[in-house]
Amino acid sequence: MLGGFSEEQIRRYSRHIILPEVGGKGQKKLLSSKVLCIGAGGLGAPIIEYLAAAGVGTLGIIDDDIVDLSNLQRQVIHGGNVGKPKAESAKQFVNNLNPDIEVKTYIERLNANNVIDIFKEYDIVVDGSDNFATRYLVNDACVITDTPLSHGSIYRFEGQVTTIIPHKGPCYRCLFEHAPPPGMVPSCQEAGVLGVLPGIIGVIQATEVVKYLLGIGELLTGRLIYYDALNMTFDEIKMRWNKQCPVCGEEPKITSIQEEIYGESCRIW
């Protein structure tokens, strides 16, 4: 045991420990960190994969879905697990990759009733969800519980990613106050998605999480990266804190999580 690491850990994390910005101290920070992954799908797969490899000690994985053959075009951690709950399949992948990681699975849907209790357990939340109801629920709950959030979303050949540190920078609602009306934006199921796309966006999210946990570099706070795979461009959109933001503004209208705000069928507040 050197610096509290086992011989196996010294080898596993050696390429991290060598980095001046990480070292043994940084690696220990990662091992004692707790990250919640919302969804174990297209974005969740690379997020979970790299956070587990990096040695993030506790990974919460919430997903109520079952692995379907159509998922394997992009959800690279679920091979051989068609028919299994995605959270369980992800846990199996993590256990095989890195036995240091404790995985907590939640085979349920994130909702207004469970979100606050679950978020309280974690240092940072990574949103890999695929719908606006969850996205706004996650954003609002992160602001209310003061939990940092990595946001990512994908559509066909395009993706966007930003990092939200509540009350220190803008939140998702500062940029997009309300969700588009139902039916206006087709889901991935209807619209299709290039299989490699969530790999790019998810890995950027995982990068941001690791940087946040280590306290190094410049985070994507107040900046949104817009990625276009067809033209292979990364554009950066400046985000400003909105004083009138309904959740993080000066006089917020949303101060607690109310179920009716996040209904899938009506306009999300």
Binding site: L2, G3, F5, I10, R11, S14, I17, I18, P20, G23, G24, K25
Partner: protein, 74 residues
Amino acid sequence: MAVELDLKGEVCPYTFVKTKLKLEELESGEELCVTFDHAPAVENVPRSLKNEGHKIMGIEQKGEHLWIVRIRKA
């Protein structure tokens, strides 16, 4: 009294990784003496340590394949 670390039998990059982990346990200004029997480590480890700001106080050859590197923590 310098702290000692025996890395006989260890090869690169773990020679550096383990030296670095040991240094993290010490206070600034403390000295660490590391024993190596892996020839490339005698060049590589001091270079990497200097990059991180530590000071190499001396490299002593103790045998045909045995060296002691003395380091002062930054």
